[in-house]
C-alpha cells in the first residue's frame, strides 16, 4: 500500500489514494480531475514516487496496484502483456519457470511495478547487452492527462506502424498520463551467470573498468563501487551459454587485468546483483552523473568529490559512463548541499555531461533543479506535455 505521506511531506493528512481496477476507472478518475482541477500523481507502489520531482503538491495519487493481471503470456513468443501494477518480483516469478526474464536492472526497479519501470524509463548496467528499457517496451495502454485511452504499439517485437508514441510514454514519469498496461520483450535466461570481483585503489579500479569496457570480449556489465563496506570494487558480469562464459572467464583471468578478488557463480551472482538493486534504499539524496564512458575517470572523480563532501557512497555503470552518488538524510545543511550539487552540475555540464537528481528533499531540489540545462529541444518537450495534459492535472512536469 502506498504511504500517502510521501507525496506531500509535512502535510499530516497527505493526498488521498485511489485504486482504479480497470482502464475505464482510471479514465474516469482523470476526467473527474479535469472537471474539478484536481492534481494527480500516477503511481505504482509508490516505491520511488519522488523520482524526477514534480511542480507542486498533488491532491490525489492514482495507484495502479490493482491493475496487476498478466494479460497475455505465450512463452515461445518471448513477449508478455501485463497490467501496469504487476510487481517486478511477481513478473519474475511468472517468467522464471519458463527459463525467461526481463533483464532490467535499473536501480531499485525490483521493488516496484512494470508500469513504474516503464514510467521511469531508467536502465541499469545490463542495458549494453540487452538494450535499455525503452528498447524492450513493445506497447502500452495509457489514459492521457486529457482522459483519452490510447493503445499504442503492440505485442510483436518489430513494429513501425505510425509514430512511436511508446517511446514518448517510456520515461515520461507520470507526466503525460497513466500507463495501465505494458507489453515487453523477454529474453531467455542465460545458462551461466558469473561475476568477477576485483579490488584496488580508485585509480586502478577505474582504469581496470575501462579496460573491461573496451575489450572485444562479450562482457554483460561492468560496475564500480566505492565508499561502502566493501571498499573499492569492480564487478564484471558475464552472461551467456556455459561454453561462452567459461571461455571469457578464463581469458579475463589469464590475460586481462589482475587476479580477481572473488569469482561468484550462478544463483549467487544473480543474488549479488539483485541485492545491489536496493543500493539507494533509505538515502535522502541520490544524484546521477553521466558523461561519455571514456570520461569515466573524471566522472568518477567528480562523484567521489561529491560523495566525500556529503559523506556518501558511489556506484558506477562503467559501460554507460553513469556514476551514482547516494548520501544519508543528514548529509549536511541544505545550503552546503546545494552548493556542492550546483558545483557538480556546472562541472559535469561544462564537460558535456549531465547531473540529475534522482532523489532529493524538496527544498534542495527546488534550488538545484532536478535536471539542469534543458538542452536545445526548441520547446518540443513542453509542447508535448501540453498536448497530452492540457489542463496540467498531472502533477509531474515534463522531466
Amino acid at each position: 500500500m502506498i504511504d500517502a505521506g510521501v507525496a506531500r511531506a509535512g502535510d499530516a493528512e497527505g493526498p488521498a489514494v485511489v485504486y482504479p481496477a480497470s482502464v475505464e476507472e482510471a479514465a474516469e478518475v482523470i476526467r473527474a480531475a479535469n472537471r474539478t482541477g484536481t492534481r494527480l500523481i500516477p503511481a505504482g507502489l509508490g516505491s520511488w514516487l519522488g523520482a524526477g520531482g514534480w511542480t507542486g503538491p498533488a491532491d490525489v495519487i492514482v495507484s495502479c496496484e490493482r491493475l496487476n493481471a498478466v494479460q497475455h503470456y505465450e512463452p515461445a513468443d518471448l513477449t508478455m502483456t501485463a497490467g501496469a501494477g504487476l510487481g517486478m518480483a511477481e513478473l519474475d516469478d511468472v517468467l522464471r519457470p519458463n527459463g525467461q526474464w526481463l533483464p532490467v536492472d535499473a536501480p531499485g526497479v525490483g521493488a516496484g511495478t512494470v508500469g513504474g519501470m516503464v514510467a521511469c524509463g531508467v536502465s541499469g548496467a545490463l542495458q549494453g547487452r540487452y538494450g535499455a528499457v525503452r528498447d524492450n517496451v513493445l506497447g502500452v495502454d495509457v489514459v492521457t492527462g486529457a482522459g483519452r485511452v490510447l493503445r499504442i504499439g503492440g505485442r510483436v517485437v518489430k513494429n513501425v506502424a505510425g509514430y512511436d508514441l511508446v517511446r514518448l510514454f517510456t520515461g515520461s514519469r507520470g507526466s503525460l498520463g497513466i500507463i495501465t498496461s505494458v507489453s515487453v520483450r523477454l529474453f531467455p535466461r542465460p545458462e551461466a551467470d558469473v561475476t568477477l570481483c576485483y579490488g584496488g585503489g580508485t585509480t586502478e579500479i577505474v582504469a581496470l573498468a575501462r579496460t573491461m569496457c573496451t575489450s572485444p570480449l562479450p562482457i554483460a556489465a561492468v560496475e564500480v563501487e566505492a565508499g561502502g563496506e566493501n571498499g573499492e570494487t569492480v564487478m564484471v558480469r558475464l552472461l551467456g551459454s556455459v561454453g561462452e562464459v567459461e571461455e571469457v572467464l578464463s581469458r579475463l583471468v589469464d590475460s586481462v587485468g589482475p587476479k580477481p578478488r572473488a569469482i561468484v557463480r550462478g544463483d549467487e551472482s544473480a543474488a549479488l546483483h539483485r541485492d545491489r538493486g536496493a543500493w539507494e534504499e533509505g538515502s535522502a539524496l541520490v544524484v546521477r552523473l553521466a558523461a561519455l564512458p571514456d570520461r569515466l575517470a573524471d566522472t568518477f572523480g567528480r562523484g567521489a568529490a561529491l560523495a566525500g563532501a556529503l559523506g556518501g557512497e558511489i556506484a558506477a555503470d562503467a559501460m554507460s559512463g553513469v556514476v551514482r552518488v547516494k548520501a544519508s538524510p543528514d548529509a549536511g545543511r541544505d545550503g552546503d548541499v546545494v552548493r556542492e550539487l550546483s558545483r557538480a552540475r556546472e562541472e559535469m555540464e561544462a564537460a558535456g555531461g549531465t547531473m540529475t537528481l534522482s532523489q532529493a528533499r524538496g527544498e534542495v531540489a527546488a534550488r538545484v533543479g532536478w535536471t539542469g540545462g534543458r538542452g536545445s529541444d526548441g520547446g518540443l518537450g513542453t509542447r508535448i506535455k501540453e498536448l497530452f495534459d492540457p489542463a496540467s492535472i498531472l502533477a509531474a512536469r515534463c522531466p
Partner: protein
C-alpha cells in the same frame, strides 16, 4: 516546376550543381523502390551541410511548397515520393562520417552515409554498426532512422532505434534542434526515440549519432532444408522457445528458392524444397558449436530433410546467397512486385504462412515469401503485372487480406518498411480514431503547418482539428 524565384534562391544556397530542375533528371526521383507510386517532384535540392538544409527549408517554406526528405530512395512504402509538386531535399551529398569515437563505441554521421560504409569504416577499430537492412549497400543512415529499419541480424541485436543516441534535426520552420547526443543519458522525453521511425514527417535529420558494437569473434551459419514451410516455421518457433538466441533466423520459401535457382544468383538450394531456413549464431567460438548443434537438432525434430553447416567464410556466403539475392531474383520473373511487411507473434508463423498461401491461391496470385522469421516479420511478395488491371485489383484485395490476417493473430501491418503512402489506408486495421488523432497532434508539435512529407503515414485527418482540446464530456463545471 517550382517558381523561378524559388529556383534562384535554392541555387544561391546549394550551388548550381546542388539543384535539379530539369524534367528528365527529376524522373529519377519520381519513386522509391516501391515503383507502384510515381510522382515527379517540383525540384530536387542536394545540400552539403545543415546550414544549407536550413536555408533550403526556409526558402521552400516561404513559397508554401511541401518538402520531402530523401536518402537513397530504397524505401519500400513510397515514403520518399513527392506528392503535389513537393521539393525533395536529398541527402546524397551529406555523406561524411564526421567522427568514429572508438573508445565510446559511437559514431557521428551525416545522414547520407551509406549503411554498409559505416561498418567498413568502423571495422578499422574492431567495431561495426549492427542494424543491417538487406539494402545496406545502398540505403542511407538517414533513411534507416526515418524508417526505423531492421535487418536479418536485428533478431539478436535490435533495430535502428536501439542504436540512435543523438540527432540534429532541421524542423519545418528552418530551425535546428539537437536531441540527445553524447551517449544515452539525456534528461527529458525520449524525443530521439520518437523521431526514429517518423518517416520524414517531423523534420530532416542532418546529423546522427549512433552506437557501435565490437565485431564478434566467431560466426556459425546453418541452412535447414524443409519439405513443408510449416515445419520451417515450427523450427523457428522451437529454436526461439528453447532459449537459443541466434543472430539471424531467415526463411526463404519454395517459390523464392525456385526464382533464385533459376536466376544468375543460383545458390545451390534444392529446387524441390518448400523452405530453406538460414540460422546464424555469433559470439565466442567456444559457445557456437554447442548452440549450432542444438539448433540443428531442433530443425531435424521439426522435420528438416537436411541441415548444412558452413565450414568457412565462402560456404557461409553461399548459404546466405539465396536469401540476399531473393529480391533481385524475383524482380526477374515478374514485371511488378508488391512486398508486404506484417509482423506476427512467432508462434503463429506456421498457421499464418498457411493462411497467406491460401489467400494467394484464392486470388490466383503467386506469393513468394522471404523474411525475418525469428522476429515474426513476414515479407510476402506478390508477383504481378501492373498492366493487367484485373490482376492489380486482386493484388490489392489479397494484400489487404494478408494484413488483416496478421493483425488478427496479434500482429501489426508493418515491421520495418514503414507506412509511407502504401499502408496509410490500412492504419485503421490497428489503430482507432483516438490513436490516429494523437499521432496527428504529435506530428503538429514538430511541424504545425504540415510542410514535412505531407500525405504520408496517417490517413487524412477527417475529424475537426482539436488542438490540445479535451475529449467530449470534459470542461465546464
Amino acid at each position: 516546376m517550382v517558381p523561378v524565384t524559388l529556383a534562384k534562391s535554392l541555387v544561391e544556397i546549394c550551388g548550381r550543381d546542388g539543384v535539379i530542375l530539369d524534367e528528365e533528371r527529376l524522373l529519377v526521383y519520381e519513386s522509391d523502390a516501391l515503383t507502384a507510386y510515381r510522382h515527379r517532384p517540383g525540384a530536387v535540392v542536394l545540400p552539403r551541410s545543415t546550414d544549407q538544409v536550413q536555408g533550403a527549408v526556409r526558402a521552400i517554406a516561404e513559397h508554401g511548397l511541401p518538402i520531402v526528405p530523401r536518402g537513397a530512395g530504397t524505401g519500400l512504402s513510397g515514403g520518399a515520393v513527392a506528392l503535389d509538386g513537393a521539393v525533395v531535399i536529398g541527402t546524397a551529398r551529406m555523406n561524411r562520417i564526421l567522427d568514429i569515437d572508438a573508445p565510446n563505441r559511437r559514431a557521428v554521421l551525416q545522414p547520407g552515409v551509406i549503411n554498409a560504409e559505416l561498418s567498413v569504416a568502423a571495422g578499422a577499430h574492431g567495431l561495426y554498426y549492427a542494424p543491417d537492412p538487406s539494402s545496406q549497400t545502398a540505403c542511407t543512415i538517414g533513411g534507416n532512422v526515418a524508417e526505423n529499419s531492421g535487418g536479418p541480424h536485428c533478431l539478436k541485436y535490435g533495430v535502428t532505434s536501439r542504436y540512435v543516441t543523438g540527432l540534429a534535426v532541421v524542423l519545418a520552420d528552418g530551425s535546428m534542434v539537437r536531441l540527445g547526443g553524447q551517449g544515452r543519458e539525456s534528461p527529458g522525453y525520449d524525443l530521439v526515440g520518437l523521431f526514429v521511425g517518423s518517416e520524414g514527417c517531423f523534420g530532416i535529420a542532418t546529423e546522427i549519432e549512433v552506437g557501435l558494437l565490437p565485431v564478434p569473434e566467431g560466426v556459425c551459419t546453418l541452412l535447414g532444408i524443409f519439405d513443408r514451410i510449416d515445419d520451417a516455421g515450427q523450427a523457428v518457433s522451437d529454436i526461439v522457445g528453447a532459449g537459443l538466441l541466434p543472430a539471424a533466423l531467415e526463411i526463404i520459401d519454395g517459390p523464392t528458392i525456385r526464382a533464385v535457382e533459376d536466376s544468375v544468383f543460383a545458390a545451390g538450394y534444392p529446387i524441390d524444397a518448400e523452405a530453406a531456413l538460414v540460422i546464424e549464431f555469433d559470439g565466442m567460438e567456444a559457445g557456437l558449436e554447442h548452440d549450432a548443434e542444438r539448433a540443428a537438432a531442433l530443425c531435424a525434430l521439426a522435420g528438416a530433410r537436411e541441415v548444412r553447416t558452413a565450414r568457412d567464410e565462402d560456404e557461409r556466403m553461399a548459404l546466405w546467397k539465396g536469401r540476399k539475392k531473393a529480391f533481385g531474383a524475383m524482380g526477374r520473373i515478374a514485371p511488378d512486385l508488391l512486398v508486404q511487411d506484417a509482423t506476427v507473434p512467432r508462434t503463429t508463423l506456421p498457421s499464418i504462412l498457411r493462411g497467406i498461401s491460401d489467400i494467394g491461391q484464392r486470388y490466383d496470385l503467386v506469393v513468394a515469401n522471404v523474411f525475418h522469421a525469428g522476429d515474426g516479420n513476414l515479407h510476402p511478395n506478390i508477383l504481378f503485372d501492373r498492366r493487367d488491371e484485373h490482376e492489380l485489383e486482386r493484388v490489392e484485395r489479397a494484400s489487404k487480406e494478408i494484413m488483416q490476417l496478421c493483425v488478427d493473430s496479434g500482429g501489426t501491418i508493418t515491421g520495418e518498411h514503414g507506412v509511407g503512402l502504401d499502408k496509410k489506408h490500412h492504419m485503421d486495421l490497428i489503430y482507432g480514431p483516438d490513436e490516429l488523432d494523437a499521432m496527428w497532434q504529435v506530428r503538429r508539435v514538430f511541424d504545425p503547418g504540415g510542410v514535412m512529407n505531407p500525405g504520408k503515414v496517417l490517413p487524412e485527418d477527417t475529424g475537426p482539428a482539436e488542438g490540445a482540446g479535451l475529449p467530449e464530456g470534459i470542461g465546464g463545471d
